[in-house]
Symmetry: C3
């Protein structure tokens, strides 16, 4: 079924958007960082690489930046495993800046310079309302026409970093069908929270960025409605790997599966984050926190201090959670622990469940119960828990997202095949490629 | 005052949206569930009953499902205490499915089949942008015209389960006035979080649904702006009654007063949830949780471990909350406890306050202070607290929502009169019917 | 650079929106409150004063309210240090009320009455969709024309207190450029949560207002996109100063820097809240709460019970946080504490950082590391921590918001100069006025 929201680009998913300064002053070779980034491979290489001729590069170095990009991309572009989308300058409130952006695109896309055959598109920052997006689109159309490239062959991604641009997200679906533009070239919608914070004039006591949950929702929804891909902005506390993962987990629950990366280390984390884990795990809710249980001989053991369990008498148990203590019979205890546990399935678990549902569907069933059971051990007492979840067509399709992403990664990133096999094993990789 | 956002339908409020498969394979009577649901009464019967010929019924059983609905609704429809709105198939991206949906509506509404006189409308799932809603509306118009029914007599409700449909919520108010459609027939806006999660391509570690607070806000706002009624999607952990109630409380604070129910048990909970409680209760905030205080001889007693209170010396008290211990004089203690307590008023309390304000307004006052006081007892020490809240016209009107809902339920659900009298007493029911 | 979202009014920021009843029955002088409010000065005087002829004043007193406003504003208006914007009556669903609103504006703006020269604009409550906003705008245009005032000289602010008005926020930017209206007169977008709660038909158990985070986001975004100023609604628990401050901190992180005030006491709090603190402070995260550390002899001391630290052996430490205990070496301990601490900079700190960045930019650098270090002391053990944050142009500009606000306050509120000098010292005030 072909639909109007089919994504028009090769990648259906983008996990990583990695920016690199195009010219750094004071180095022997001002293109050194660019050259190094162009040679990243495997998990360190992003899905989308963004030589950044805007904020990451000093204004005085941007002309040199264009030359550097042409140099490095024409030399290394053919072998780069991800897509390449340079960021040029742009500003909704400055025709000067917009004209500079146009000139940078003209130069980068000139076939005589040898880079354009490796370029997948351009990233336009600081866009305003939809008419401003059209101005950038029109420049790219003119450039395509000038150099005899097919209309729409160069993608366009935008940084959403103003209230106006956030509002434009609601107009995309309608405007993209309009014959007087080529907005079908749109690819990524990227949030830029630093400039957005400035544009919204927000203040936090510590100077940290506000979380902007509504912006991220609206970007993700705009992407969904228009067949585009939503990407979150930079996470600038580079040391804080846990925080980066928490942010990605939050984003994924909003349908925003990609994120900006500032270093190859962040690229590795962000490439892996939306892929299902290699092993499943049981978690126990204690005091609003989730504690992962350790597996020992097939049992899942809680050995913290915040829960105590002891047998009071025959089939009576005393359970203390924090300062709340209760006496329960065996069934009540099982129920209480079931309510407090959750299971995070592995890739293998997800593939199993999908295969099982596919077989049931083949056999004419619309819905089946998926069971998940385990033995918990708390203070030496073992409790068997088991939960059922009904799967119907809708559950099946919603569960499919991480698998479709896995397949998209596999198809587009041969340089990561080895690493995927190492993480999951060859057999599982093959099963994951055919399910769904 | 007649306004453009007056709701056009009989019900001003809908608490419950209960779906039933239309045909289940492997049973002697494939319409068994349908037949049982049609005979629900009282708190087990929903405000809106939805024989579900889409996701709840296997595709191969849907033709039989149409026949079953005709059978059961023509036999039991006249006596069913709620409204009846079958769900037919539809998809924004499939003309085949849309044509099937049209055929199902044609058949169900055929006066020769005897069901249409008991049908209040249809539920259309998987709608896209507003033009897609109009396609469904047009089919219903054609059906009404074909069978000589007045235009707009069959209601239309939609399931919002895509980013496009969420965006369409902002267009409703404007489009509903357009003479080239009959969108005035719109009734319920129902969130469908499972398919929405798929459409948004969201991922959570456990596979649970994301909370989607923005979707629920936008649905509720769309309903408010267009005079429609907002309903939350299914809560599929049927065992988890507490979780279902928490979800409903959250929804109510968003103006979304109705919810999907999957079982008669859930219908009972959801029918009761937005009605005020029969008795008021005092709650004490301890460690970010609310603990309900028990009434004993007119005092409200806290007997947990997390708060200690003792007299230090004359009018000096030592109060420990968690690991935070302080010495306070009597006034400070009263203030501290006042800050930590809240009161959840009963239906009787709300009716009292409204009557009091109405009398004050009659006497020419624009605002009055409503006092609420209680004696708390902690570790044997009694503390009297009392708080004032200013009521003006706006407070009065905002407080009126649960009463208006109560009145709407009473007017439209005679089968629940007995239960309401049992819960609240005849006298209070009568006072609640005339206040406001 | 002049832009279409430049704010058209004198004030670029409004911290406080203070309403006063225009006529109170039963007093010797029904204008007493108005007269007292008109004479507020310094921190007790709001940026925008709103004589309120709508909800704060009984309907029967509103004609007298118009006379009172004329009296008091013509007498005291010239000396009032803030702007004056009376609220008149209006309702999207009542032409009667709208016509009364028009008459009130006509009377207040009549040059013969002597008040108009001190009036900055009008506040229109209960607006609906954008066409309703235009009706109010048109009345003001007619009034301006009638009295020979320049078109657009009277500002218009609206109370957003319906789903329709919330939706209209997305249309503002486009509509304000339309030659057939004068919506460029728009100034403040003010949320009115009590009536909004009624319009959305929301229910909370205690009757408290829901938090409505999406409404506040959408109002702030609408203001940002259209060059207007966003203001939060009234906080009616007047005793609860901490709660008022928490609300303002939340709002500021949404870009909503102003709030309604109901008393001169609230005005003082709200005037100070968005200004940076006079002294910086270190905070430690304990159990999801932030605890401010006390400075003693240059060290920042934690003396609570929830964290214990002791030396286990040479360069090994035992750290307990709540019930979680770990052994760490010196580097791990430093890292752990660094992760748990945050610094809230003072005005002096912000000015220092901006000056430092400006000097670096002058010297040709695009980004510099800002270091912040401190010695923490827990249970007598001292730990030195230090963190770096990269500042580039975007960080610099985002950090600038509180400074721009400070400068706007200084320029427009000479009556607060003395207080600002008292809080920050003359020197720092002068440096803050020239930076940025």
């Amino acid at each position: 079924m072909s639909t109007h929201t089919d994504r028009l680009h090769d990648r259906k998913f983008v996990r990583t958007f990695f920016t690199t300064p195009t010219a750094v002053e004071g180095e022997d070779d001002s293109a050194k960082m660019l050259r190094r980034a162009a040679q990243l491979r495997g998990m360190e290489a992003p899905d989308v690489w963004v030589p950044d001729n805007e904020d990451a590069t000093a204004p005085s170095m941007r002309d040199e930046g264009v030359e550097n990009m042409i140099d490095v991309i024409s030399e290394h572009g053919a072998d780069f495993p991800g897509e390449i989308h340079p960021r040029v300058v742009w500003h909704r409130e400055s025709p000067t800046t917009r004209y500079q952006g146009f000139q940078q695109i003209l130069e980068l896309a000139d076939p005589d310079n040898g880079a354009v055959e490796h370029l997948d598109g351009f990233v336009i920052p600081e866009v305003g309302d939809i008419d401003d997006w059209k101005k950038a689109d029109e420049f790219v159309t003119i450039v395509e026409n000038e150099y005899g490239l097919p209309e729409g062959s160069l993608a366009m991604s935008v940084i959403v970093e103003s209230g106006e641009a956030e509002l434009a997200l609601a107009d995309l679906r309608e405007e993209m069908g309009n014959p007087s533009n080529n907005l079908e070239r749109l690819f990524l919608l990227v949030d830029g929270e630093v400039d957005y914070t400035k544009d919204m004039r927000a203040i936090t006591p510590t100077g940290e960025l506000p979380p902007w949950p509504e912006l991220r929702h609206n970007t993700s929804r705009g992407a969904s409605a228009a067949g585009l891909i939503a990407i979150d902005g930079p996470y600038d506390d580079i040391r804080d790997v846990d925080g980066y993962h928490e942010r990605m987990t939050e984003n994924q629950a909003k349908g925003m599966l990609g994120i900006w990366s500032l270093t190859p280390g962040q690229v590795v984390e962000a490439n892996k984050s939306p892929l299902p884990p290699e092993t499943g795990s049981w978690h126990l809710e204690v005091d609003d926190r989730e504690v992962e249980l350790e597996e020992e001989d097939g049992r899942y053991v809680y050995d913290g201090d915040e829960i105590d369990l002891e047998e009071a008498s025959d089939d009576r148990y005393r359970l203390r959670v924090g300062s709340d203590e209760r006496e329960l019979d065996g069934d009540e205890l099982t129920q209480e622990l079931l309510d407090r546990t959750s299971y995070i399935p592995s890739l293998n678990d997800i593939v199993d469940s999908m295969e099982e549902f596919e077989a049931a569907k083949e056999a004419g069933k619309g819905a089946i119960a998926m069971e998940r059971s385990a033995t918990l051990a708390i203070d030496g007492i073992e409790v068997d828990i088991s939960n059922d979840r009904m799967w119907d067509e809708a559950t099946y399709q919603a569960a499919q997202t991480p698998i479709t992403l896995f397949q998209d990664v596999y198809e587009n990133r041969p340089d990561q095949h080895e690493k995927l096999a190492e993480i999951y094993g060859e057999d599982l990789v093959e099963r994951a490629l055919v399910v769904g």
